[in-house]
């Protein structure tokens, strides 16, 4: 299987307020194949979100290589990474992060507003319909339930036809009865769109549904039991 994401010798540290650097991630190798759905589990503060931000190009690594679809993102300029992110990566946040000023369909359109491709307004409607919000196009986030908001966020993350979807604890803020349906929705939609999926979670039950489970503690050489998070 061809690797969509190929990480090698990745290191990331943050400057601490009192000075000095705190190493958070030290991953020698990690790959995600095209169309693969991977669950990454790890303890809170273990660097899961940092790994997602590094893959998305929102953070730059201290050293190492991140190749996505054959492109070394670390070698791109910040603007290049922004464009690459807009066209290649979808992101589902733990707290949904819908923009309150925009309606559901406008939030989905935002997902394709910053790429270089044509704006496909019809696609926003299709996606909302597919996530079961056909009659909620013009509702604002505040007028939607938590589960509905997460569905809008999923639709938005796929709007730009990404090759990789990054989901950061996508079910953490939805009630347990909705968690399953949200998770299945993400997985099914990714399958339909042929999108690779990397979900980070601390919930083993959620992770158990995925094709492959990776434990961050095992691939990350930083010992978080001794390092402050």
């Amino acid at each position: 299987m061809t690797a969509l994401v190929n990480i090698k010798d990745l290191k990331k540290s943050f400057t601490q307020p009192e000075g000095g650097k705190l190493l958070v991630l030290d991953i020698s190798e990690f790959q995600i194949a095209k169309g693969e759905q991977v669950a990454m589990i790890g303890q809170s503060g273990g660097g899961k979100t940092t790994l997602l931000h590094l893959i998305a190009g929102l953070l730059s690594p201290d050293q190492g290589s991140i190749q996505i679809d054959g492109i070394e993102t670390n070698g791109l300029s910040e603007e290049g990474r922004d464009r690459f992110r807009a066209e290649t990566i979808g992101y589902v946040f733990q707290t949904f992060n819908l923009l309150p000023a925009f309606t559901a369909i406008e939030n989905v359109r935002l997902g394709m507003a910053f790429g270089s491709g044509k704006h496909q307004h019809a696609r926003a409607g299709d996606l909302l319909t597919r996530v079961g919000l056909k009659d909620r196009f013009n509702y604002r986030p505040g007028q939607l339930s938590v589960g509905q908001q997460q569905r809008v966020a999923i639709a938005r993350s796929l709007a730009g036809r990404p090759k990789l979807l990054l989901a950061d604890e996508p079910t953490a803020n939805v009630d347990p009865s909705s968690a399953d349906s949200v998770l299945e929705l993400i997985r099914d939609t990714c399958r339909e769109e042929d999108v690779s999926l990397l979900t980070v979670t601390h919930d083993m039950q959620i992770a158990a549904r995925f094709d492959r489970i990776e434990k961050l503690d095992e691939i990350n050489q930083v010992d978080h039991t001794t390092a402050a998070s």
Binding site: T49, T50, H53, A56, L58, L59, E78, E79, D82, R83, R85, A86, E87, Y91, F93, N97, L99, P100, A101, F102, E106, R109, L110, G111, A113, F114, G115, H119, R156, G160
Partner: protein, 506 residues
């Protein structure tokens, strides 16, 4: 989804804050547009008023500006009066002789051309006598020539026309010397019509009313000049009102002045004109002594061509025109037939003892530059500061919202928006406030102008409509957009520097 649409959504999302910021900017812009419009109206009014149809105003020595104000605008108080003989200095010998003959006066006056007559060279000299009021409006004593020789309008080529009636005459059998013509605004505000009589008050609008009334024989069409605000009466009738005749016990000082003027006249070498050699010599009228002054026996010198003396003497025996020594004029409106003579004439008059000559256009421009201009500049500065304060309002409004919006900006960045994209969205938001505020301010100002257009036209003669704009208004939008850009720089910089990771995790 365009960046402008995103900016608009943000604008709408913070509706109250956006509305208040935009409204404060609209008020600032409205004030600027109002001041600019007022400036435009005043400038046009001054330009119209400068198109008076004469190039010099002659009056007693004093402030040329005051002379212009009271003779052109009918504002301020007259400086003093000039003897009628000063007016006669602008007339050729035959007209002087005719006056001596009709009104009575020193026969010597008829023996020579007026000192300044050669400068007139086909132009005219029209006397004005001020001092009375009809309501709040000035009563202007003048001659019928005022309506036949003076022109007005942007090209100074429009004759006075009458919405009702006609110009007054020097004497009419039905109204004697007491006919009047009203400016358009006077007739409207005083609600009077042709055929009615009015009684001027003496000295000021609330002064003692004269017993002698004037019959309104004509109402002028609006001219957009101060003449709309004047009640014109026949000069002869004006003189005949109580207290308007100058006492003829002569002040020795006046005699000295008269002698000096005569001496000046005899020594003067005015420009040679055709009229000088062609002017007929009037016969010296028979004279007599009265209070030390020689007066012509007017009833003995009736002329067929003289409208005053053509009257049936028995028809209005108690009203006989005043003699020349009893007459005074407040000012004289001069138009030189050859404009090249105007500077020489002005110098000659100003070098004289009694009178001064002022160029109304020059004085009006001075008034604009010295008083009105700086006042409007100060007003513009104040309203400009108001706009700057409104721009600071935009800055504060957007900058304060940045704390709430860092997360939104981080989300957009995570969705692929570049730093320059989120910066542009902030600047577009500021531009939207500026654009809406400017349009709303412009509409507010022009609505106010339209609401007061009737009053403005009445007061100044300048017609203003909703789309009447001053030349400078076109600069308001770019200026406000410039201010908005400056106001947006700080919040835009904050947006540019927003850290995605920390704000997404917040």
């Amino acid at each position: 989804m365009s960046l402008i649409h995103i900016a608009w959504r943000n604008f709408c999302h913070r509706a109250l804050s956006s509305f208040l910021t935009t409204f404060s900017l609209a008020l600032g812009v409205g004030l600027v547009v109002l001041v600019l419009s007022i400036y435009g109206v005043i400038s046009e009014a001054f330009t119209r008023n400068a198109s008076v149809g004469y190039n010099l105003v002659v009056g007693p020595k004093g402030s040329p500006l005051q002379l212009t104000l009271n003779s052109v605008f009918y504002l301020s108080q007259p400086i003093e009066n000039l003897p009628y003989t000063e007016y006669m200095e602008f007339l050729p010998k035959d007209e002087r002789a005719s006056m001596v003959s009709r009104f009575g006066g020193d026969p010597k006056l008829a023996e020579r051309d007026g000192k300044y007559a050669p400068y007139i060279a086909g132009g005219f000299a029209i006397p004005l006598a001020l001092g009375d009021y009809f309501g709040e409006f000035r009563v202007v004593g003048t001659t019928p020539e005022f309506f036949t020789k003076l022109k007005h309008g942007p090209n100074v080529d429009e004759d006075f026309t009458f919405s009702q009636g006609r110009a007054f005459s020097n004497f009419s059998p039905e109204n004697s010397y007491f006919e009047a013509v009203l400016g358009a605004r006077v007739a409207k505000e005083m609600n009077v019509a042709v055929g009615e009589k009015f009684y001027p008050t003496h000295g000021d609008p609330s002064g003692q009313g004269h017993e002698q009334g004037f019959t309104i024989v004509g109402i002028l069409d609006p001219t957009g000049t101060p003449n709309d605000r004047a009640a014109f009466v026949n000069l002869e009738g004006f003189y005949l009102m109580d207290g308007h005749a100058k006492p003829i016990e002569r002040d020795p000082e006046e005699d000295v002045l008269d002698e000096a003027v005569d001496a000046e006249a005899s020594n003067e070498e005015p420009p040679v004109t055709e009229s000088e050699s062609d002017s007929p010599t009037a016969a010296a009228p028979e004279s007599t002594q009265n209070n030390g002054i020689r007066l012509v026996q007017t009833e003995a010198s009736v002329s067929d061509s003289d409208p005053v003396t053509n009257e049936d003497p028995g028809s209005d025996k108690e009203h006989r025109p005043l003699s020349i020594p009893e007459r005074e004029v407040t000012s004289i409106l001069i138009r030189n037939g050859n404009i090249m003579f105007a500077p020489g004439m002005q110098n000659a008059i100003n070098e004289g003892i009694r009178a001064q000559a002022a160029a109304p256009i020059g004085e009006i421009n001075k008034l604009m530059n010295l008083i009105v201009g700086p006042l409007l500049t100060a007003l513009l500065a104040i309203t400009g500061i108001t706009c700057a304060v409104a721009a600071v309002g935009i800055l504060v409004s957007i900058y304060n919202s940045m704390n709430d919006r860092r997360r939104d900006i981080a989300i957009m960045r995570a969705l692929g928006a570049r730093r320059t994209t989120v910066t542009s969205i902030i600047i577009f938001e500021s531009f939207q406030v500026a654009l809406i505020g400017t349009i709303a301010g412009w509409l507010l100002a022009h609505t106010a102008i339209v609401l007061y257009s009737g009053k403005i036209e009445d007061q100044t003669g300048v017609q203003v409509g909703f789309f009447t704009t001053s030349n400078y208004e076109i600069l308001v939008l770019p200026l406000v957009l410039g201010l908005a850009l400056i106001a947006a720089l700080l919040p835009a910089w904050a947006a540019y520097r927003t850290d995605v990771g920390s704000n997404l995790s917040a």
